[in-house]
């Protein structure tokens, strides 16, 4: 079954690449807007043999990893505390609802004024954006706790810590995992956006340079790199998720089908 799925997936991907080659060759779109797959691949190979490309990649990854780590730990800890302590959730709800939707990109001008085009600018954006993803998912998850299970745990005399560990955490974990996975993606988006708009060193800044110098195939090649990066991050997050949730319905269901 696995093998068949992989084969179907590979076929889908091959068709996608072939489409990318055929559409500009047939003249359905202009080649200078949308170069065929083979030209993008050539530009990609040039990039990979370029030392400065790898430095940029390293810069992007540093901003991403640092930001995500800070945001995820803060999001989980604060999320659990807020939903466990009585009244705290109600008291913070309005503030969270107000702060969360402030798009982190609104902070771009502030970051530029404060830190210029440094790593710290990017970190400010990344942490702010991904923190809410984790926090909200944690809150949603804790809310989903089965009341019967919670009452049962209470009536068996489990203390607050034990209930967090055995009732609340397993219920919230799938949500938290989704939150971290999405936060990982958002962190990458914001890291690259910060570089693209602010000009902090990294892949985003390279894309901006390629765009300004009309190097369309190089621009696409770099976009492919960001996609692959995002893909690796997602696959990594999924693997972690699957390991951590091996007992959960949505994961078990997939193996059984």
């Amino acid at each position: 079954m696995r093998l068949q799925n992989a084969a179907l997936g590979a076929a889908g991907f091959a068709a996608f690449l072939a489409l990318g080659e055929a559409v500009p060759r047939l003249g359905l779109v202009k080649e200078e807007y949308f170069p065929p797959t083979s030209r993008i691949a050539r530009a990609l190979a040039d990039e990979l043999s370029d030392g400065t490309f790898w430095t940029a990649l390293g810069d992007t990854l540093t901003g991403w990893a640092l930001g995500l780590a800070i945001a995820a730990s803060a999001g989980i800890v604060i999320g659990v505390i807020v939903s466990v302590v009585p009244y705290l959730r109600e008291a913070t709800a309005s503030t969270i609802e107000f702060l969360r939707p402030i798009p982190s990109v609104a902070l771009i001008p502030l970051a530029v004024l404060l830190y210029g085009s440094e790593l710290r600018s990017v970190l400010l954006l990344v942490v702010y954006a991904s923190f809410w993803q984790v926090l909200i998912q944690t809150l949603y998850g804790v809310q989903d706790v089965d009341p019967v299970a919670d009452e049962t745990a209470r009536s068996y005399g489990l203390g607050a810590w034990a209930r967090i560990r055995y009732v609340l955490w397993p219920t919230a974990l799938p949500y938290v995992m989704t939150g971290v996975r999405l936060a990982a993606a958002v962190a990458l988006i914001l890291a690259i956006t910060g570089e693209l708009v602010i000009g902090a060193p990294g892949l985003g800044a390279r894309i901006a340079v390629a765009q300004n110098s009309q190097a369309v195939p190089e621009m696409y090649a770099l976009i492919v790199v960001t996609g692959v990066l995002g893909l690796l991050i997602n696959v990594g997050a999924r693997t972690v998720e699957r390991r951590a949730l091996a007992w959960h319905q949505s994961v078990r269901g997939e193996v059984a089908v």
Partner: protein, 259 residues
């Protein structure tokens, strides 16, 4: 009455406290980048006049709503199809994963090539970014429909649209809404970014204008406006969610009440 009062206090206490802290901490601040809250609030009505609301805020909201709606329709429809058929999912998944993994803002230069720098570009950028959380969550939600319910529906001969309307979509509903909520914040991000790139109006454009001219208090009012906008949109979203998922919240509440 007493309960209402208590709730009101709970809702307002922390924001009030934070504002007071901000007010006191920034009062008399001579740091150019952190002007006193007093100054920011005094600047606010001068900056966000009726003209500016009409010329900058409305176009932004229009782009956001259009892009978001497009993403929601496409995401839920495609997600339902992909989530329902294992084979389709197997074929599409790698490509979707790849497309989803591309950070949407890097598509702005590409979409600019095709769609110019007008509203089409911004709506496309917003839609192409928002669609992924919705699509992903719909797929997950549809996939996690209770197998017993699916079997039951099958044995009762409930198929086609009625199965979709009465079983699959409601069952995936909470998860779809989680995706829609995530897409909302992504949508605002993309709205602002696309306006920072190339625009002659819009909230993002205005804020960058202020930053470049070092009009720091004005820039702060812009951040406040974005916060307010995000807040209002999220309240609207919550009202819609309460309504659509009333049965789900009711179920939870009744399960919670019963001993």
């Amino acid at each position: 009455m007493k309960r209402l009062l208590r709730r009101l206090v709970l809702v307002l206490a922390l924001p009030a406290l934070l504002v007071v802290v901000w007010w006191l901490a920034s009062d008399g601040s001579t740091d150019v980048f952190w002007p006193p809250l007093r100054t920011i609030l005094r600047t606010f009505p001068d900056v966000w006049t009726a003209d500016r609301l009409r010329d900058d805020v409305l176009p932004s909201i229009w782009r956001l709503v259009a892009g978001y709606a497009l993403a929601a329709v496409v995401g839920v429809a495609a997600g339902t199809v992909i989530g329902s058929y294992r084979r389709v999912r197997a074929v599409c998944e790698p490509v979707l994963e790849f497309l989803r993994a591309v950070p949407p803002p890097v598509l702005i230069p590409v979409i600019m090539l095709f769609a110019g720098i007008g509203d089409t570009m911004k709506v496309t950028v917003i839609a192409s970014g928002c669609v992924w959380p919705i699509l992903l969550n719909t797929v997950e939600g549809v996939r996690a429909v209770d197998p017993v319910m699916l079997e039951t529906a099958r044995s009762y001969g409930i198929t086609g649209p009625s199965r979709l309307r009465n079983l699959v979509l409601p069952s995936a509903g909470p998860q779809i809404f989680a995706g829609l909520r995530q897409a909302l914040s992504l949508g605002i991000i993309l709205m602002v970014i696309s306006e920072m790139f190339a625009a002659s109006n819009g909230i993002g454009f205005t804020i960058v204008q202020f930053q470049r001219s070092f009009a720091v208090p004005d820039m702060w009012t812009g951040i406040l406006v974005l916060g307010l906008l995000g807040f209002v949109l999220s309240v609207v979203f919550q009202l819609v969610e309460r309504r659509v998922l009333a049965w789900y919240h009711g179920l939870r509440a009744s399960a919670r009440r019963s001993p």
